[in-house]
Every structure is written in structure tokens, then in C-alpha cells.
């Protein structure tokens, strides 16, 4: 898994609530059994005229097409970010585009876990704080980069403008060290087998397949 320690980059505001994973990547853009090459389709319906994914067809109004935000690596969004479909393609599209962190008041639960699994840092800050960050960025997006320090759990913009966020310690460790959660669980095989042996006695019917 890709590590996340610190990151500083341009933060693009998409301050809408309930941004669903269909909007992040429509089903029609999931064309291969592959986790790669999906960045071009990120936000297809918003980023391209009539949703037709093609160079030269970008919608000029969409934030990620504006000169100041072309190299955005952080998103600022409204609440319930990534709600809807469980498609992990949404996270793969974001990471392939170059997004390293998303700052939102809340996230869809499956999307949040998918982010953690792929080294994309989901940061929870309240909506008014996000508005403050967006306002600071808006003055000069290229100069006023957002700096994230996962170990310290901080987000900083202008001098003196720093916020602390909360993240579960285990997720923080996974991201900081780039650990593979499957490997970690496979090391606990013994306790899993002990559980199953006991459970077979308690719920034999659940194992009768």
C-alpha cells in the first residue's frame, strides 16, 4: 500500500454535499478488470462536455479544468463525500489522477475504508473549517498550498492557519507505514482458527455447507 506521511499541494474545492461515487466515476468508465488508468475518467460527467471523456472536450467551468487547479492533489468537499456505490474504482480514479487527500465533514462509510486501503488520506474537518481553508486557498491556489502532516494530524494553509484532525490510530499507522492489512490479519491465523473451532460447536448450522 502507498505510504502517506506528509503532503503539500493545491487543494481544489468541490463544496457539494452527497458527492456520490457514480459522480466520481460513472459505471460506463469502468472498462477493464484493472485498478489502473482510471484518472482520465475522474468526475467524467462534470469534467467533460456531455460526459464524453476526451482531451480537448473539458468543461471550462469545472474546477479541475481551471489553470489554478490543474495540478490539484487535495479535494475540499461537502458532507457525505463518496456516498452511494461501493465501487473502489472511485478511489482508483482519484489516486490515478493524483489526489492524495480529501477533506470533508463526513464520508460514505465504504468509500472511507476504500480510501484507507489505497493510501488516499480521508480527513474529517467541520464544514465551517473547510470553508475557511477554501477561502484561504481561493486567494491564490498555487501559492496557498495546503500542507498535511499525518503523524501530527494537522492541516495547514496560511501562516498561523492550522487545524488538527482525528483519525483512528490504526489507520494512521497503516498509512504512515504503508502496511498490507491482509498480511497483518494472516499473521493472526491461529486465533481465527480457534474462533472457528469454537463457533462450529456454537453455531454448527452456519458451517453446514
Amino acid at each position: 500500500m502507498k505510504k502517506f506521511t506528509t503532503h503539500s499541494g493545491v487543494a481544489a474545492p468541490i463544496l457539494r454535499i452527497n458527492i456520490d461515487t457514480d459522480a466520481i466515476i460513472p459505471s460506463r468508465e469502468m472498462k477493464r478488470v484493472s485498478r489502473k488508468g482510471l484518472g482520465v475518467s475522474l468526475f467524467a460527467d462534470w469534467r467533460y462536455e456531455n460526459g464524453i471523456v476526451q482531451r480537448g472536450n473539458e468543461s471550462p467551468d469545472f474546477v479541475l479544468n481551471q489553470p489554478d487547479y490543474l495540478d490539484a492533489s487535495i479535494l475540499l468537499t461537502g458532507q457525505n463525500m463518496g456516498c452511494g456505490s461501493s465501487r473502489e474504482f472511485a478511489v482508483w480514479a482519484l489516486t490515478d489522477f493524483g489526489i492524495r487527500a480529501i477533506i470533508a465533514p463526513s464520508f460514505g462509510a465504504i468509500f472511507y475504508t476504500n480510501c484507507i486501503r489505497n493510501g488516499l488520506l480521508p480527513i474529517i474537518l467541520d464544514a465551517s473549517t473547510i470553508n475557511e481553508v477554501a477561502a484561504a486557498v481561493d486567494q491564490d491556489p498555487q501559492a496557498n498550498k495546503v500542507a498535511i502532516d499525518l503523524k501530527q494530524s494537522t492541516v495547514a494553509v496560511l501562516a498561523g492557519q492550522q487545524y488538527t484532525f482525528k483519525i483512528e490510530a490504526s489507520y494512521q499507522k497503516l498509512l504512515l507505514e504503508g502496511l498490507d492489512p491482509i498480511d497483518l490479519t494472516l499473521r493472526r491465523q491461529q486465533i481465527i482458527e480457534q474462533f472457528i473451532a469454537k463457533d462450529r460447536l456454537k453455531r454448527p448450522w452456519a458451517h453446514a455447507l
Partner: protein, 474 residues
């Protein structure tokens, strides 16, 4: 001194019995009883597993179907209308065989939409944990299973280890009190709830649905209800299993048999929240307040009674809500203050993991019988499984659908979403029994209005969004 254990919720009982270990960070390593896969995201989980040289730990507990990409037109094959779809189907099939997983392939009589199949085959059971890389896995909470959607990587984790770590969600109970008005269904109950409490209202919670109106629901209707828990952003929805559920599961192909059945039933009867269980949130809903409900915008929370009017964004308390409403109205091309009923439609769709079971098709057929879909309306019915389709045909429902002007399809997810193959036409307004009215969900620039099968059938006949209760009065 007598030391009393605190009461547990239904969810907590299942959680406790599946806790392999308490992790240092406060999360729990949970044993997963059943894993269900489909070709869209299951393919990625299986290929990820294979690429890491890992294997499915217990293939007997893993099932797979083809629903998302497969065509629903007659004579279908691997070569679907979805660009690149053939790869999803064939990779899934090859890897399912390699892993020794039970596959309900495209011409198998057990094929169908994952969550419909998991129930009708007796794969999902009360008191079992179940995951599927699909957000609507919560459907199976209708049987009393602890079922939740996950991503492909989490699914891969469960395949390799039979476990997943979760932080225990907060506990919410929603009590549906009183009796539902005639013709009001589980779909209306959930759209009513989500429109009142927002699409994020269940965020962080596992939701138990309770109350007399829940007890009155059929087991199929309970699946519809729990299906929409994810549209409420809940971790899952769950309903305590009762006699109806036990009767429903008896003799299902993968349900326990003989002595195991009796052991299971004994266990299932303990699965209810204790009287002194504590909930972090509790909501009471008076069923008398629920009317047939339909969405007007681009989020399931944008819903109103069929007798209601499209709301004014300026009346919204929260500015972010107000902006989202304005954007939605602009997208769907409707104006505030106008009655939702009477809005012209171009298409009608009956299907999806939400509303495609035999009981749903019966409700729609009852309304369609002897009537015709309005001129120019494209109307499609896609049964939730091949078994549902065959049972419906035994009752002659297919004839009613076809005579009224509906297409009668093979089973699958079909036009619930647009995957680059079949879609509705740009600008089409669709009345649909599905679960998501997101921008472009059913085709580029399409506008989806979520409703119950009765509302969809009546609207197809009238050519506009229609209160089915008014049909007989004309």
C-alpha cells in the same frame, strides 16, 4: 450484589458472537460467514487475490453470480453490450472456477441479482455475517443477517482470511408505529424516512427497523426496506427474524437441513434486542403520515409525497442543502411549487435489488392488468432473478406485462445504472423502482424518479407521475 449484564441490541448480539478478537485500536476482528460476489467488483477482488498469490480460505462459504454487466435481453451471451463487459464476465468465471467458488453463471436457473439470489437460495441467514463488494448488501438485513457492502480490497481480505476488522457502529432504532395506509409500501417508508432525516441521517449507525408496521411487512418487503439503508448512509439495516422469516427460509437450497435446521431455529429465536438494550439514537415514525412517495431531484433525500409539491430551495434551512436542491432542480428541469404528480415521463422501469421480487411484480401486474402503457413510453420490467422470472411466468404475470406494453427481460441489474451499453436516452425522465436517482445514473443526462412498483406501473399507464390510488377514479 447481583451484577447484571447490560442488554444488547440485535446487532450487538450478532457482533458479539462473531468477534474473533478485540483489536488494540478498539475495532473488532469479525468472522464473516458468507461472501457473495458479482462480476463487476468481485472480479477485482478475485484478481487481486490471485495477483497476490493468495487463495480463498473457505470456498464453500463463497458464492458468485453475474448481474451487473450481463445483458438482460433474450439470447444473451458473454459478449455484452457493455464496453469491456466480456472481460468482467470471463475473468469472474475463470477465477471463480479456479477458487472453487459456487457460481450462478448467466444461464444457470439460480442466476440473478446478488442480493435477491442470496435470500432466495438461503445463503444469507439470520444471525450470519455477510459481505459483498456491493453497497446494497444491507438488503439481507431483512432476514436478520448482519450484512454490509464493502470495497473490492476489503472483500479480498475477507476471501483470504474469513474476517474483516470493523469499528462497531453506533446503534439506532427506527420504530415504524401504527399501520401503513393502504398501498403504501416499504419503498415509500424509506423514501419518507430519508427525505425527513437526510441521505446522511444514518451515517455511523447500524439501524434496526422495528415496530408493528415492520412486523406486518412480508419478508420480501423487509428486504426492500433494508436495501435502502445504504441510501440513508447507514452501516447496515437489520430486522429481528420472526416466524415469517423462518417459514421463508425453510427448505431453501442452502439453508440448514435436518438437525442443523432445528439448531438454527433455536438460535434465531434469540435474535432480538433485549428490553434493556441501549440505542444511541431512536426515531419514531407514525405510519399514518406516510403516503406513496417519489423523488424529485438527484439524491434519495429529494423525495415528497405523491400528493406533494416540489420544494423551494430558498425554504431550506441549510445553505449547502439549498445549493444542492437548486442544482438538482436545474438538472431535472423542474420548478419549485409545482405538484410532482402530473410530471410527464418518457420511460418506466421495474427492477433492481430494491424492487424486483415476485411480490413487487404482482403489485405492478395488478395495476397493469387490462391496461396499456401510454403512447411513446418505454417500459421495461426486469425480474430480480431467473427464479423470480420463472415463478412470475407460472402465474402469467409476463403476459400481463407484455400485453400492457412492458418489455419482459432476463434477470440482472439492467438499467438500474448505465454502464456504457444500454441506457435510457439523454433527457429522458424515468419513473423507476430502483434505488439511486443520481445525475446520469440511468444514462447520460437522464432524470430518474424513484418510486414503488405501484407508482411506476400507474405512471407508465398515464404517461406522467401518477398516484396509483387515483387510477380507479378516472
Amino acid at each position: 450484589m447481583i451484577h447484571q449484564k447490560p442488554g444488547l441490541t440485535l446487532f450487538e448480539k450478532i457482533w458479539k458472537d462473531h468477534t474473533v478478537a478485540q483489536n488494540d485500536d478498539g475495532s473488532s476482528l469479525i468472522y464473516i460467514d458468507r461472501i457473495f460476489l458479482h462480476e463487476r467488483t468481485g472480479s477485482l477482488a478475485l484478481s487481486g487475490l490471485s495477483a497476490s498469490d493468495r487463495a480463498t480460505k473457505n470456498p464453500k462459504h463463497v458464492f458468485c453470480t453475474m448481474d451487473h454487466i450481463v445483458d438482460t435481453t433474450p439470447g444473451r451471451s458473454d459478449d455484452t453490450k457493455v464496453p469491456g463487459g466480456i472481460e468482467f464476465i470471463q475473468v469472474t468465471r475463470d477465477l471463480a472456477h479456479q477458487e472453487g467458488i459456487t457460481l450462478f453463471d448467466l444461464n444457470d436457473p439460480r442466476q440473478g441479482i446478488s442480493h435477491v439470489v442470496a435470500a432466495e437460495q438461503g445463503i444469507a441467514l439470520p444471525g450470519c455475517t455477510m459481505i459483498c463488494p456491493d453497497s446494497h448488501t444491507c438488503t439481507l438485513g431483512g432476514l436478520g443477517a448482519l450484512a454490509t457492502g464493502v470495497g473490492s480490497s476489503e472483500c479480498e481480505h475477507a476471501l483470504a482470511t474469513e474476517t474483516l476488522s470493523f469499528f462497531k457502529p453506533l446503534q439506532m432504532r427506527i420504530n415504524f408505529l401504527g399501520q401503513l395506509p393502504l398501498g403504501v409500501t416499504a419503498k415509500d417508508m424509506m423514501l419518507h424516512l430519508i427525505s425527513n432525516k437526510s441521505a446522511a441521517g444514518g451515517s455511523g449507525f447500524a439501524v434496526e427497523f422495528a415496530g408493528p408496521a415492520i412486523a406486518d411487512l412480508t419478508v420480501e418487503a423487509r428486504q426492500t426496506l433494508c436495501n435502502l439503508a445504504v441510501e440513508f448512509s447507514a452501516f447496515t439495516g437489520i430486522i429481528a427474524p420472526d416466524e415469517k422469516v423462518i417459514t421463508y427460509l425453510k427448505d431453501k437450497p442452502y439453508a440448514p437441513k435436518g438437525a442443523a435446521w432445528h439448531q438454527a431455529v433455536n438460535y434465531w429465536t434469540t435474535l432480538k434486542s433485549d428490553v434493556d438494550a441501549s440505542f444511541d439514537a431512536e426515531i419514531d415514525i407514525d405510519c399514518a403520515d406516510i403516503a406513496p412517495t417519489v423523488t424529485w431531484g438527484t439524491s434519495p433525500q429529494h423525495a415528497v409525497s405523491i400528493e406533494g409539491k416540489i420544494p423551494d430551495p430558498q425554504q431550506a434551512e441549510d445553505p449547502a442543502d439549498s445549493r444542492a436542491m437548486s442544482r438538482a432542480l436545474d438538472y431535472v428541469g423542474l420548478s419549485p411549487g409545482r405538484p410532482i404528480s402530473g410530471t410527464p415521463i418518457q420511460a418506466a422501469f421495474i427492477g433492481s435489488c430494491t424492487n424486483s421480487r415476485l411480490s413487487d411484480l404482482r403489485i405492478a401486474a395488478k395495476i397493469l392488468k387490462g391496461k396499456s402503457v401510454a403512447p411513446g413510453i418505454r417500459a421495461i420490467c426486469v425480474p430480480g432473478s431467473t427464479q423470480v422470472k420463472r415463478n412470475a411466468e407460472k402465474e402469467g404475470l409476463d403476459v400481463i406485462f407484455k400485453q400492457s406494453g412492458f418489455e419482459w427481460r432476463e434477470s440482472g441489474c439492467s438499467l438500474c445504472f448505465y454502464a456504457g451499453g444500454e441506457g435510457f436516452s439523454p433527457g429522458d425522465r424515468i419513473i423507476t423502482t430502483t434505488n439511486r436517482n443520481f445525475e446520469g445514473r440511468q444514462g447520460p443526462m437522464t432524470r430518474s424518479h424513484l418510486a414503488s412498483p405501484a407508482t411506476v406501473a400507474a405512471s407508465a399507464i398515464e404517461g406522467c407521475i401518477t398516484d396509483f390510488r387515483s387510477l380507479g377514479n378516472r
